[in-house]
Subunit: 361 residues, 2 copies
């Protein structure tokens, strides 16, 4: 696969900082930290923070006993360190040798970290670094697309394999573990899954339970694995045996909605119109009240990221966006059907992976 | 086990809000959300927020399609909901029918969420809810101690079982998975582990690698499992065969330091003095420069929480605190030894679990 150019991303952030008249972007460990500096690490109570300066070299501050780790895991050769009994925020302040007028913060920065940074820079204005980072992350380049296609392929294959292996009497939780295992066997990375059977499938985001698979059960699997931390997010709704007429009817409406959204998705179209394209089909079929969530969301290093495909988002899609297309109909106490694909936006958008979802009679 | 009284915790927060003249505490999904409202959920881009008012009933705002989930998973019967195309922050503002003078935020609240809340409450002062929450969480009651003891017992047993099962040729990553499995078999909950062999053990927090276990290798396992989300954190350093004289010498110094810290720990003693008690022993033995981190940290719903046992923390320990006692000596390119226990602070502090760590010749 093509390598990811992390230094290039740092340069692009510098350009955006200049344009937006922001002096610095501060980035504690987070998805955005990985995006910019390569290190994939957890936020902890010990301050680690990358800083991109619009005019100067980027810098990293970290605990002294983590210095070697940081040099191995991140793009930084030099690390500014602090000892266990020192205040890292004072040291951070000393390293930045001027009074920044505006500081952007990585959007997931904890309020507590923000408060402590603010104490050191009392005259600076703090702004949300969201737009700077999202504008970059929303548009996937070829190296990123390779990873996303592979994640989607492994996810689809893992879900289909799971549906092949399941049998009556297995619980949602057992099938969930099976699905995670099948995907991780393919990807070698972390996988997640939601599994819902029969009436449970009518509750989007419901917790997996000990409910058992029966003959002719409806089973909904919403799952994803990753490739170098780029995630897929695919939902297959199936029947373990013979589908009822009501299921078939609902399924075909959702399928039509999913296709209509794909058809609508392309560069230049406002995001909400892709939602409308699917919703009008479900509404016209009389099931509008049972499609209770937005059509989809962007996908990448996070399973949910911009652009959101939802009423009110009038931003036009851009070539290189990747978004889910996941209409659903949820009939309380009966069953739910959701069909979810991952879609790459281009002149004409296309699914990251195509596969046969008809596994029932 | 004794049940956890979540409603009581909410009342205690209300009392603290009154004392500190704060109108509201806002808590998005986080460890503190679980601590107060029982729901153990991930933060997502869709706003979920619990609000404790010093004078009024607590409230929860969540996406409408999650309402049923919230009623099942949290202490709330009523949920204020927002639809996919509505602005949850406007609805939150409407629900709070007055102008709060001071609002405390859960300390991990993302900067982005803070920014959007602030827009709705432009005249309010925002403060860090850290102290309110930590004062409660730092002192474990009997129900919490039952869970922490069980987590510690399962962790110690899992590590010892792992050391029994390993063999030459296995890698750090393989042993890490084995350790997680052994602990989870006992606890039925999530487990984590770090495994470091030979010179890798000299790098605290180093990433697990494909380095292989050999005859007479030093192996360091730092691991924990949980009981109803309360975590243990225990480190065992051992030798797979016969220990060198240098290892034995270093081990006995670290062991003496670990015992000295336990001896020092008790209600009323400033936290940093517990660190000093261990450090002076390692310094007097001539290894001071190789003990590169603080002695320990508090433990509970997070693996690292207050109180921190570190130079500069002059706060006295309080009965009910639980902290790690984890001195170490790290000899670059040779090996590291860390001995880590979990300690309950009382009139005379004691380890949550005692076990025999001498597995080598």
């Amino acid at each position: 696969m093509k390598p990811i150019d992390f230094l290039r991303r740092q340069t692009l952030v510098q350009e955006k900082l200049s344009t937006q008249d922001i002096d610095l972007l501060m980035i504690p460990p987070s998805i955005n930290f990985f995006y910019l500096f390569e290190g994939y690490m957890q936020l902890s109570e010990r301050l680690i923070c990358g800083v991109i300066d619009k005019k100067d070299d980027s810098l990293l501050i970290a605990p002294s006993f983590e210095k070697e780790n940081m040099q191995i895991q991140t793009t930084f050769d030099d690390v500014i360190t602090w000892k266990e009994d020192e205040d890292p925020y004072t040291i951070l302040k000393q390293e930045i040798s001027y009074e920044p007028r505006r500081i952007a913060l990585e959007p997931s920065t904890p309020f507590e970290v923000f408060s402590r940074i603010k104490k050191q820079f009392p005259t600076s204005e703090f702004v949300n670094g969201n737009s700077i980072l999202n504008e970059l992350r929303m548009i996937k380049n070829d190296a990123e697309m390779e990873r996303m296609v592979q994640a989607a392929e492994h996810t689809a294959e893992g879900i289909l394999k799971t549906l092949e292996l399941i049998h009556e009497g297995q619980t949602e939780l057992e099938i969930l573990k099976l699905a995670q295992k099948q995907m991780t066997l393919l990807s070698g990375e972390m996988s997640w899954a939601l599994v819902q059977i029969d009436d449970n499938s009518a509750v989007p985001h419901g917790k997996p339970s000990n409910k058992k698979l029966k003959k002719d059960s409806v089973i909904l699997i919403d799952a994803g694995t990753s490739c170098e931390h780029y995630f897929a997010d695919i939902t297959v709704t199936s029947v373990h045996g013979t589908a009822s007429d009501e299921f078939k009817k609902v399924y075909s409406i959702v399928e039509e909605a999913n296709n209509a959204a794909l058809e609508k998705s392309k560069a230049g179209v406002p995001a909400e119109e892709v939602d409308f394209a699917a919703r009008v089909i479900i509404e016209n079929a009389g099931y509008g009240q049972y499609f209770t969530h937005r059509l989809g969301h962007g996908l990448g290093l996070q399973v949910h990221e911009e652009p959101y495909i939802v009423k009110g988002n009038k931003e036009p899609l851009v070539a290189g966006n990747v978004h889910t297309d996941e209409p659903g109909i949820y009939l309380p106490d009966k069953f739910g059907v959701r069909i979810e694909d991952d879609v790459l936006v281009k002149e004409k958008s296309k699914r990251l992976v195509e596969f046969d979802r008809y596994l029932w009679k």
